[in-house]
């Protein structure tokens, strides 16, 4: 019996990076997964990687929070009761203030904040979950330590952490826990893209992140702990997983 045998866990942003590694781990541990991606490529990757495993695939556009309720209700059997929800959607944004126009900012806030809150609302409706449901959203050191060019991204991550603190206080009576995992620099496709387009070849983040670049497995190990009942006394928290960056 795997640790998460027959537990239903939703992973949004599951086709890449941390979400994908988490999906592989939970699959091995016996969980029944609802795997989300926004793009056709992402859906295809999930279908190929997890074919015949009995997991559900959920396609929804997080840049359009208004579309999520219809997508969730039409694609996912509403009798399923979730035991976990890990939000790994995180639209990146690097641009200076002079190019930070409202349409761009709103797109980041829609995908990273409004859609996360909307998914929490949909998941936490009556009969939609089992007591003990653990919700975790991936946050970033950018929410705590500002940097030039990351205004929209950092603001979105700080907003999700604030939302988590409020939701945890609303939802504890339903035996739902909500936490944020504050990640440092992790070796994902998004990180490779970032390094490819950086004007400087140096990675200033890793100078402060003295345990080095994190792996998606490092983060997944902590997510598995936060999903499990061993972490039942932790809620409303922003938990650093940052290789020492914020110390």
């Amino acid at each position: 019996m795997g640790k998460f045998e027959n537990k239903y866990i939703l992973i949004t942003g599951a086709s890449k990076g941390i979400g994908f590694t988490l999906a592989e781990n939970l699959d091995n541990l016996g969980a029944k997964l609802i795997l989300h991606a926004s793009s056709e490529d992402g859906i295809n990757k999930l279908t190929e990687s997890f074919a015949n495993k009995g997991h559900l695939i959920f396609r929804a556009d997080f840049s359009d929070p208004l579309s999520l309720e219809e997508a969730w209700q039409s694609q996912i059997n509403q009798d399923i009761k979730l035991d976990g929800f890990v939000n790994c959607v995180g639209l990146r944004s690097r641009r200076p203030l002079n190019l930070l126009k409202p349409a761009h900012v709103m797109n980041i806030l829609h995908a990273n904040v409004a859609s996360f809150i909307e998914m929490c609302r949909l998941v936490c409706r009556k009969n939609g979950f089992n007591p003990g449901l653990s919700i975790i959203t991936i946050s970033s050191i950018a929410a705590h330590s500002g940097g030039p060019g990351v205004t929209a991204y950092a603001a979105s991550k700080a907003a999700t952490e604030a939302a988590v603190r409020c939701m945890s206080k609303e939802l504890f009576k339903k035996e739902v826990r909500v936490n944020s995992l504050v990640c440092g620099q992790v070796n994902t496709e998004a990180y490779s893209d970032l390094m490819e387009t950086k004007a400087s070849a140096d990675d200033v983040i890793l100078e402060r992140q003295y345990l080095g670049l994190g792996s998606t497995q490092n983060i997944t190990d902590i997510l598995l702990f936060l999903l499990g009942k061993e972490s039942c006394f932790i809620t409303g928290s922003s938990i650093p997983a940052d290789g020492g960056y914020l110390s």
Binding site: R94, R95, N98, P148, E196, T197, A199, S200, A201
Partner: protein, 72 residues
Amino acid sequence: MTNEEKIALIEETLDIESGSLNPETELLSVAEYDSMAKLSLIVLCDENFNKKLSGEQIRAFVTVGDILAFLD
């Protein structure tokens, strides 16, 4: 888009006085050409020209003309 129009767009993106750049201008002599300006260039290339500008390519730019050649 003509070179003049491209230069005007670069000046606007980098928040530089209009008419201060020409193809021969050396980027090192432009005070405003810092890391945020380079980030702005990446966004400019992506949004206005649908071209992906890498860090390596940026570091190879010496003059404004090099940027114009990349945008062609």
